[in-house]
Symmetry: C2
Subunit: 431 residues, 2 copies
């Protein structure tokens, strides 16, 4: 019985023997021609069903005026109808004056926020960000699409470790105090992608109050999973805008969120929240870019999601579908990899991901070995800027999209690959 | 009887006498506390009704997969579902590979196209447009929001006259041949905003074939009114992409359009059409900006508008509503201003506007006089870059939104103001 034995303590013969057994199993999967995709954090078809009623909620004979009388079918209303602002301001704990409603993509709002800053700076800033080279702090592992935006705009990325309660703040504080070309930091503060951790109050306060050499520094607060709990005891997250105001830095933060994983990823509503001064500055710019986002879809969302109580019930239905998938992965990890000292993972209370860390130098080999057996994972390195994981150990697991049966097979394959690659590493070290 | 007398031939006494009569009428309107808005080209509530059926066309129990199997509710499909590409490619006379579907705003797609070019250049270009000062040619009068985009990006605008068949091409050709900082030209080629003219074949060919010193020159072809005819004998417009290909400049044009004035301004679908090389370049950039636009709304549009035949029938319903409004304005102009040699206008075969040219130096006075009487018109000068009409004579009339009754009153007030301001001008000249 080799389960739960610390691999690092096995001798060469034991390792070889074990490798044979596992490799035979792997060969078995190879012959099955699997085709399983666990690469992106997508809701499953069953989850999408939860919101399909929303498609009928705004129909031909309904009144399609917003509560201020705006005709949602016609032009106008640059920053969202009042009832949508109210709903999202409640969700994010800000005032209705601190909300701008966008189109269907919060990523697009983040991209545009940086694009505008590159060309015209931010509120209170002296110059546009594109004038001289700039840098962003990227807590890692993190969200690949954030890093891709930095790459697009030639923004240098500085890696900072993400601890179990948020970014390593000693390092962050030292960096921003010393260098005025550091203009921003990416944060996924709740059930972070991919680690699943939530920032502690202390981290939120330190981010809000730290001294930054750049007077136009901004926190990009991607609160994508703010209501996406997996348990009845959700992680609390301190309100960053309130913390920034209290620290005298009301304009420091841009908060983003969306309904992509509440209703439909393909047809949701995204929001930006920030201080009124920030938003007045941005609203002027947006009014050059568009006459206004889709207001009918805002109306659909508000009439469907209604209020925070109803939203909570709705999110519990999501949790009922995805919690068993998270449990399956975590149980498999425990039974296949537990105690072997070759892999380490978090147990998130919400969000869309489980982050698996292998031994250093093994992640790429594991991902390509799994791919060979028909199990597609997020590219190794994707959770780091430029796709380069310095320790080549992080693998992002997205358990929501596949069925439980598919997931079980995929994780079995993954666990086999982790063991085989790890044994290989030990054997090479032993030579 | 002073109707249809050439005002420029009246003597001072006749002018004064006439002024008294008209001014009394104007005072009558002043006391009515009117509140009529003709400032923006918005469809009327009656027009919006034509598409409300679309809201029910995609509902809870429908199959919400695109024809290639993509789930329209979920993530993915960066540039549009196949059936939407087919519909819009038919509408614009390009191939399905030459279409990218966007969100609800073509203005947003134009803004983003320039934003990307400023930061990263265009396909085949040597450097990004933001590296050195650049210029755009702006045929005038034109669309204020195009000019606002240039102003936002600090792009210098060069005014060129719009003739009855398109931009003054002798001037355009001379400009672009000589100056490589001229990177673009704004065109509303069909039922132009505000002149209502359609470019002739010859103009399209000259735009496609002209020599440009800038190798990365682009035509921004805002084909907003491509199917928005008012008569049974629509203006023909030569296909600019085909013309550019034939002239060996396949990459020269970005075409834009949307359903804002086909279905809903607040919840339509926008498109960009261009050469495959252009789109391959742009698609890579867009994939950093967003995971994809709202696909459900694409599905709604395709299932509602179906094909070109059905689109034609749908647009005829729009025409049936707005043609009487155009006729009313034109008839009033003829009866109140005709033959007086104080105002000049086009009779468009489609689109959303009638362009009224007063005597030089009168437009601002007319607009503010009308505003005083409760009739809100588009700001004088708005149809020119920086809001400055060099001859202060152009007034854009947007007849679609008000009811016929409101419109009649508004145009009566407008015609009174034109006459009063014109007489004033003659009287001052006579002093």
């Amino acid at each position: 019985m080799l389960n739960h034995k610390d691999y690092s303590k096995l001798d060469t013969n034991e390792l070889k023997e074990h490798y044979e057994v596992l490799n035979e199993k792997y060969d078995g999967y190879l012959s099955q021609n699997l085709s399983l995709d666990m690469s992106r954090g997508k809701p499953s078809a069953e989850q999408l069903e939860l919101s399909k009623e929303m498609l009928n909620i705004v129909s031909t004979h309904d009144d399609l005026h917003a509560e201020d009388g705006s005709d949602c079918l016609n032009y106008g209303v640059i920053d969202g109808i009042p009832e949508a602002k109210r709903f999202f301001s409640n969700m994010l704990g800000v005032s209705t004056k601190e909300i701008i409603i966008g189109g269907n993509s919060s990523l697009n709002m983040m991209f545009d926020a940086i694009s505008r800053a590159m060309l015209q700076g931010v509120y209170g800033g002296a110059a546009n960000w594109g004038k001289a080279p700039i840098k962003f702090i990227c807590p890692t592992p993190g969200y690949d699409r954030h890093f891709a935006i930095c790459e697009f705009f030639n923004i240098e990325m500085i890696l900072v470790d993400l601890t179990h309660e948020g970014p390593d703040m000693d390092t962050v504080e030292d960096l921003v105090r010393a260098d005025d070309s550091i203009k921003g930091i990416w944060c996924v503060p709740k059930y972070s992608n991919p680690e699943g951790i939530t920032y502690s109050d202390q981290i939120v306060d330190r981010l809000a109050s730290m001294d930054t050499k750049a007077k136009d520094f901004r926190i990009f607060w991607d609160d994508a999973y703010t209501v996406h709990h997996l348990t009845n005891t959700p992680d609390p997250l301190k309100n960053i805008l309130t913390a920034c105001k209290e620290a005298g830095h009301a304009d420091r933060v841009f908060m983003f969120s969306s309904t992509s994983k509440i209703t439909f990823p393909g047809a949701g509503v995204a929001v930006l929240a920030a201080s009124e001064d920030n938003l007045n500055f941005i609203r002027k710019q947006i009014s050059i870019q568009t006459i206004g986002p889709d207001k009918i879809n805002q109306l659909r969302h508000v009439r469907f999601l209604r209020d925070l109580d109803h939203l909570k019930l709705h999110m519990e239905k999501h949790a009922a579908i995805i919690k068993p998938k998270f449990d399956l992965v975590l149980n498999k990890f425990e039974s296949e990899l537990g105690g072997k000292n070759i892999a380490f993972w978090n147990k998130p209370n919400g969000g869309y991901f489980i982050s698996l860390n292998t031994l250093d130098g093994c992640a790429q080999a594991v991902v390509s070995m799994a791919a060979k057996a028909g199990v597609k994972l997020t590219n190794a390195g994707a959770t780091f800027p430029y796709g380069q994981d310095p320790r080549d150990r992080n693998i992002r697991i997205a358990p929501t999209y596949p069925s439980l049966t598919e997931l079980e097979t995929a994780i079995e394959v993954l666990c086999l690959c982790v063991q085989l690659v790890s044994i290989n590493k030990f054997l090479i070290q032993a030579v």
